[in-house]
C-alpha cells in the first residue's frame, strides 16, 4: 500500500486524475447534505440567470447560473453526476462481470466455446456501438435499468476480447500447467491461478470503458434517449441548452466541462493504473 501512494505521488497526471475523480465522487455522494438548491424545481423569476461571478445582473446565489426553468445549474450538475456515475459504474461492472467471465471461459476451454463466443463478439463489433445502443434503448424504452443494460451490452465485448487474449497467454504459463500437474480442479485453476492474473488488465479495461460509457450515456441523453426526466442528466442539459446558445452560454458550457473533467480524470487514473501494474514499467523509468 505504501508503494501505491509513493508511486501515485511520483506521477503528477495520476495524482491529478485521482483528485478530480475523488472530488466528483464525493460531491455526488454528499449531494443531499451540501445545502444545494433543488435540481428539479426552479423558480420562473430566476430563469436564465447568468453565473454570479460574471458580474452581470444575477439576483440569486447561482454560481453557475440557472437554466430556462430557473433551476440552479451547479445543483443540477452535482445531482446529475449521481445519476451519470451510478449508471456508468453499474454498466461497467455489469459488463465487466459478463465480459471477464466469458473471456475466461473462452480462453480457458478454447475450442468450440471460444469460437462461438468470438464470432458473437465479431458480430457485435461490426455493429457501431452507438447505433446498437440507440436501437436497443429505442426498443426497450429509456429507463434507468434499460440504460444500464444497454451500456453494459456495449461494454462486455472489450473485456471479453482482452481477457480472452490474456487467458490464452496465462493458461500456457507454466504455473497453470503445474497446477494441473498437482491435480488441481478446473475451478481452482480458474479462480486461484488465472483470475488473479487477469484482474489487472480487467481493471485497466474497466477504467477505459468507464470513460467511454460516461460519454455514451451523455450522448444518449443528448438525443433524448437517456434516463428520463425529471432526473437531471448532463447530456440532456446540453440538449436543452442548445436552444439558448446565443443568450445563455452557461447552460451548455458547464455540464460539458463536467463531462470532460470526469472522463479526463478517469482516463488519467486508468493510464496510471496500467503503468502501476505493469512490471515492465516499474523499476525501470
Amino acid at each position: 500500500m505504501r508503494s501505491f501512494f509513493s508511486a501515485l505521488l511520483r506521477s503528477k497526471a495520476g495524482l491529478f486524475g485521482w483528485i478530480i475523480l475523488s472530488i466528483f465522487v464525493l460531491a455526488a455522494l454528499l449531494a443531499p447534505v451540501l445545502g444545494l438548491d433543488s435540481p428539479v424545481r426552479g423558480s420562473l423569476s430566476a430563469r436564465l440567470d447568468p453565473p454570479t461571478w460574471t458580474g452581470l445582473f444575477s439576483p440569486g446565489p447561482h454560481p453557475l447560473g440557472t437554466d430556462q426553468l430557473g433551476r440552479d445549474i451547479l445543483s443540477r450538475i452535482i445531482y446529475g453526476s449521481r445519476v451519470t456515475l451510478a449508471v456508468a459504474a453499474a454498466a461497467v461492472i455489469l459488463g465487466g462481470i459478463v465480459g471477464v467471465g466469458l473471456g475466461i471461459v473462452a480462453g480457458y476451454f478454447r475450442g468450440m466455446t471460444d469460437r462461438i463466443l468470438m464470432r458473437l463478439v465479431d458480430i457485435q463489433l461490426a455493429f457501431p456501438l452507438m447505433l446498437l445502443a440507440l436501437l436497443v434503448v429505442a426498443a426497450l424504452g429509456p429507463s434507468l435499468r434499460n440504460i444500464i443494460i444497454v451500456l453494459a451490452l456495449t461494454s462486455w465485448i472489450r473485456y471479453a476480447r482482452i481477457i480472452r487474449g490474456q487467458v490464452l497467454a496465462v493458461r500456457e504459463r507454466e504455473f497453470v500447467q503445474s497446477a494441473r500437474a498437482i491435480g488441481s480442479g478446473t475451478l481452482r485453476i480458474m479462480f486461484r491461478h488465472i483470475l488473479p492474473n487477469v484482474l489487472t488488465p480487467a481493471l485497466v479495461v474497466g477504467t477505459l470503458e468507464l470513460a467511454r460509457v460516461i460519454i455514451m450515456d451523455a450522448a444518449l441523453s443528448f438525443l433524448g434517449l437517456g434516463v428520463p426526466p425529471p432526473a437531471p442528466s448532463w447530456g440532456r442539459m446540453l440538449a436543452d441548452g442548445r436552444t439558448y446558445l446565443s443568450t445563455a452560454w452557461w447552460i451548455v458550457t458547464f455540464p460539458g466541462l463536467a463531462i470532460v473533467l470526469t472522463v479526463l480524470s478517469v482516463n488519467l487514473v486508468g493510464d496510471w493504473l496500467r503503468d502501476y501494474f505493469d512490471p515492465k514499467q516499474r523499476g525501470l523509468k
Binding site: R119, F127, P128, L129, V263
Partner: protein
C-alpha cells in the same frame, strides 16, 4: 494470402448476417408500426388489412426469412414516412455522411500521426507534454459538446461560419474539425506509445548498430511497425464516426444517414431504420475488410497465417 483473404471474407459475411438479424429483431420490439400508419379511429379490419399487406400477421420466423430474402436484393421495403423504397431514401443521405466521416478521418489521421510522432521523438520535452495534453483533452471531450462549443464561438459569437447545415465547404469546416480532434487524439496517443515500444525493439538496435541515419530508422524500421496497430485503430475509429453520426449530424444539422435514423426512430419508420443501420454496418464491415487487407500487406507474417 488467399486463404487469409477467404477467411476474412467469411468472417465479414457472418458479421453482416449477424447485424441484419439483430436489426430485424430489435426493430420488432420497437412496436407495431401499423398503429402509426393509419389515421386515428381506423377500424380493426383496416388495421388487419394493413398488417397483412406489411406481412406483419405472419409468424416472426417467416417474417425473418422473407426479410433476409428481400434484403439480399437490397429491398428493405417502403419507407412509411416517405412512401419510397427505404434503401433509396438512405442512399440519398449516404454521401453527406461519408463526406463528413472521410474528411474527418483523413484530417484527423494526418494530424494524429504528426502529433504522435512529435511526442514520441521529444520524450520528456515540452512538445510531448503539449501533444499529450491535447490528446488527453481530445479523448475526454464528447464530440457533441465540442461541436456546440465551436458553434457557440465561431458561429454564434464570431459569425465566421454557419451554425449548421450542408452544402458549401464552409458548412463542412466545423463538423469535420470537431470529429478530427477526436480522431487525432486517439491516433496520437496510440502512435506515441507504439513508437516508444518499437524504439525498444532489438531490431531497432540492430538498425542503429548498422549506423543508419535516424530518418531511415524512423521511417523504415520504426514507423512501419508502429503504424500496424494504428491501421487497426482506424477501423475502430471508423465505427465510432459512422455510429456517432447520429449525434454529430444532430448537432450540426447535417443531413446524413445519422439524422435520418434518429427521425426514423421517432416515427417508427422500420424500413428506414433497418436500411440505415444495415447500410452503415455493411460499410463498416467493408472498411474493416479493407483494413485487414492492408494489415496483411504491411505485415508479411500475417499473410502466411491461417
Amino acid at each position: 494470402m488467399i486463404r487469409y483473404l477467404l477467411g476474412k471474407l467469411a468472417e465479414s459475411a457472418i458479421a453482416i448476417w449477424g447485424v441484419v438479424t439483430i436489426v430485424f429483431f430489435v426493430t420488432r420490439i420497437l412496436g407495431d408500426p401499423s398503429a402509426l400508419l393509419l389515421p386515428i379511429g381506423a377500424s380493426p379490419e383496416e388495421m388487419a388489412r394493413l398488417q397483412a399487406d406489411l406481412g406483419l400477421d405472419q409468424p416472426l420466423f417467416l417474417q425473418y426469412l422473407s426479410y433476409l430474402g428481400n434484403i439480399a436484393t437490397g429491398d428493405f421495403g417502403q419507407s412509411f414516412q416517405f412512401g419510397r423504397p427505404a434503401m433509396g431514401v438512405v442512399l440519398e443521405r449516404m454521401p453527406a455522411t461519408m463526406e463528413l466521416a472521410f474528411t474527418a478521418l483523413i484530417l484527423g489521421t494526418l494530424l494524429g500521426v504528426v502529433a504522435g510522432t512529435i511526442a514520441a521523438l521529444n520524450r520528456g520535452r515540452l512538445a510531448e507534454l503539449v501533444v499529450m495534453l491535447f490528446a488527453l483533452l481530445g479523448q475526454a471531450t464528447p464530440v457533441f459538446w465540442l461541436g456546440i462549443m465551436l458553434i457557440l464561438f465561431f458561429a454564434v459569437d464570431l459569425r465566421w461560419l454557419p451554425t449548421g447545415g450542408y452544402g458549401t465547404p464552409a458548412h463542412l469546416v466545423l463538423p469535420a474539425f470537431t470529429l478530427a480532434v477526436f480522431v487525432s487524439a486517439s491516433i496520437a496517443r496510440l502512435l506515441r506509445s507504439n513508437l516508444l515500444d518499437v524504439l525498444k525493439e532489438d531490431y531497432v538496435r540492430t538498425a542503429r548498430a548498422k549506423g543508419l541515419m535516424p530518418r531511415v530508422i524512423l521511417v523504415w524500421h520504426v514507423g512501419r511497425n508502429a503504424l500496424i496497430p494504428v491501421v487497426t485503430m482506424i477501423g475502430i475509429i471508423m465505427g465510432e464516426l459512422l455510429g456517432g453520426s447520429v449525434v454529430t449530424e444532430t448537432v450540426f444539422s447535417w443531413p446524413g444517414v445519422g439524422r435520418l435514423i434518429i427521425q426514423a426512430i421517432e416515427t417508427k419508420d422500420f424500413p428506414v431504420i433497418q436500411a440505415g443501420v444495415a447500410l452503415i454496418a455493411f460499410i463498416f464491415v467493408v472498411i474493416n475488410f479493407a483494413i485487414d487487407l492492408l494489415y496483411g500487406l504491411l505485415d508479411p507474417r500475417i499473410r502466411e497465417r491461417r
